[in-house]
Amino acid sequence: MQRKFTNFNSWTVTAAVIMLLLFLPNLTIVTGIFTPTNENWEHMKEFVLSSFIKTSLILISATAILTITIGLSLAWLIAQYQFPLRNFLKWALILPLSIPPFIGAYTYHGIVNYTGIVQSTLRDHFGLNLSPAFFDIMNLPGAIFIYTMFLYPYVYTITRIFLSQQSASLIESARMLGKGPWRTFFQVVIPISRVSIIGGASLVVLEVLNDYGVVKYYGIQTFTTAIFQTWFGLGDIESSIKLAASLMGFVILILMIEKILRGRRQYSYSTTKVRPLPLIKLNGWRAGIATAYGLLILSLGFFVPIAQLIDWMILTIGTIPMGEFLTYVKNSVLVAGISATAIIVFALIVGNFSRLVHGKIAKLLPKLTILGYSIPGAVIAVAVVTAFIALDRFLVPLYRLIGMETTLFLSVSLVMLISAYIIRFFAIGYNSIESGYDKIGTDFRDASRLLGVGLTKTFFKVDVPMLKGAIISGFILVFIDILKEIPLTLILRPFNFDTLSTKAFQYASDEKIMEASQASLLIVGISALAIVVFYKFLEKEPN
């Protein structure tokens, strides 16, 4: 045991403290299960809990099936065939990811509602007066459509990268053995890409369970909306902790199903040589259908909502005072910037700890802390508030000592929101930093130490400069995610503190969807830019 902790030092201690802080708040949820139940909870358990579970199950399974269908078919088309606009579609098909589903939800509602472009065109130009019910998308199928259109890129990207880089010899052998394109697709492509498909689909499912914006706007009852309602409507934090615990149980179940589905078949391939899949040229109507299909999905997931948002922005420009708008921008950049910086610093420390200390515990602990990303925002919000109120109670004597009147200080400050972001998005930053550490290995660090330079100085002079790429990409990913975030920000922001996303959500909820367009477009613009830059960078990386 002693040997394993050769490098027990300040790095280990700091990393342990960080991991504990990241992990502890979620424990409050677990303890919440054991508190005595009250009337509200009994009522919920009896009448509504099963309907939440049913709705959530329908939402996630339908979205998973549809995103897999769209994502996999597009990935296969792009990876295997050459057709007009293929090279443009290859990266553009990722763009829908830059539109947060709640922005997509209210934009589509605006497009198809009574005064929207679809119905008014039909009325004014074709004299058609169809029943508004026909166009109603504020229901379960509507929400499934929204999630599918804006989340399919998770499945598409992961599967496409896998197919175009790793499948050449398998697919070519299938062809040589006399399988046609359809049979190759069903008998070879789907089985070999199972791990990527499930990986992508589970990200989609976690996003759906985390979502608050879409279901709230469309009036669909799920766990997340119920957590909000119990808390703010009924003022019953204990029951909302119990709801959060049920949701967490649900998520753990999903993670277990994912693990079982992935199985032991990790399909690592037998040669280390990565050979790209040669493209087959499509001609005539086949090429036309491929291009049309790609463009249709891209339009539904990106161009149509963007066009509508731009139209609304032009109509409303000047209605929101510039100063006010700039405050939202400033707030967004401030919280996202501070949180992303903290996450990257913590990830660097924990990542360094993980490679300094051998042994199973050292490898397992960081894995536990990154669980935060699978836990929905609303659950983390409940956990963080509970933890911060307890902390405030504990600190009251200190507040008195320095002459403060208040009993709640930390739990009404930005510190709470930023801590919650850190817990929720730590995984994103950590993954990037960890792969950076993996890439540079330990030789450079060892070389530096053998030249007489201690661990900490080595970290700043050798590790950090060499991790620059991982640090930048990790920061961008976290920053974008926080910019788009809704449930945590809504629950935990201090009074009167608005960000671009809360403002967009608030305008949309107040039926001022046109006014919501400016903040939304800014979020989408920044995200789209970052996504394109990031994936272009990822493509260039040698494997």
Binding site: R3, K4, T6, H358, G359, D443, F444, D446, A447, S448, R449, L450, L451, G452, V453, G454, L455, K461, V462, P465, M466
Partner: protein
């Protein structure tokens, strides 16, 4: 005795058989030792243990009467005064040749730093390359920078891990000669690990052959010549001769 390694044992986590089993040897000052063995024989482990990058389970290590490791002591790598040339050189890619070499000289003043830099650059014949980055150098030049960087702080001992594995065959012969000259000129005790008999014979004062974490043979290159003339024993007989000779 300059360096002494006593009864050192070591096993990697998740591995049942020990990587090094009661290994002992002593080395004189200025000696060039070659550790020869197949992959998995434990040869790189010895270097990592001496460098302090791994910790032995039992045994002791001393250099010039300073204890690096025993039951009570474990000296951190940065405190050992041992230089190492890594298999793929591990030159810091974000630093120039000069910055790489000066990295370990932080205790010297400016004038001394400059002087030492010129000395080692001269030793490895790379004057004028100070401002280049590692990726602008050939494989052989990179290796010489790595040697210069390791030698610059005047270590008690320099460790070289498969120093020729990344070079093409033609270059290997030339660099082997250069390396012996550099090491002898600098009068630094050195241990290098290789799987190539020719390297070992051309460079070393003494050769240690390792097998399954234990010493199989040890002696001067000329002593070992008759015992094992070919890199790979092909006949049963050869193995028998070897065993006889060892006894």
């Amino acid at each position: 005795m300059f360096i002494s390694i006593n009864n050192v044992c070591f096993s990697y986590p998740n591995s049942e058989s020990p990587a090094l089993d009661h290994f002992s040897m002593s080395i004189e000052k200025g000696e060039v030792i070659s550790i020869l063995g197949r992959s998995g024989s434990g040869k790189s482990t010895i270097l990592r243990l001496l460098a302090g990058l791994e910790k032995p389970t039992t045994g002791s290590l001393t250099i010039q009467d300073e204890v690096l490791f025993d039951d009570k002591t474990f000296l951190q790598p940065e405190k050992r005064g041992i230089g190492m040339v890594f298999q793929d050189y591990a030159l810091f890619p974000h630093m120039t040749v000069a910055e790489n070499i000066l990295f370990g000289l932080f205790q010297l003043n400016r004038a001394d730093k400059k002087k030492r830099l010129q000395e080692v650059l001269e030793l490895v014949e790379l004057e004028g390359f100070e401002k280049r980055y590692p990726h602008q150098l050939s494989g052989g030049q990179q290796q010489r920078v790595a040697i210069a960087r390791a030698i610059a702080p005047n270590p008690h001992l320099i460790l070289l891990d498969e120093p020729f594995s990344n070079l093409d065959a033609e270059l290997q012969v030339k660099i082997r000669k250069d390396l012996r000259e550099i090491l002898k000129k600098a009068n630094i005790t050195s241990i290098f690990v290789t799987h190539d008999e020719n390297d070992a014979h051309a460079l070393a004062d003494r050769i240690v052959k390792l097998k399954d974490g234990c010493i199989d043979l040890i002696g001067r290159p000329c002593d070992l010549l008759g015992i094992h003339p070919h890199p790979t024993p092909q006949f049963e007989q050869v193995v028998e001769t070897r065993e006889l000779a060892t006894v």
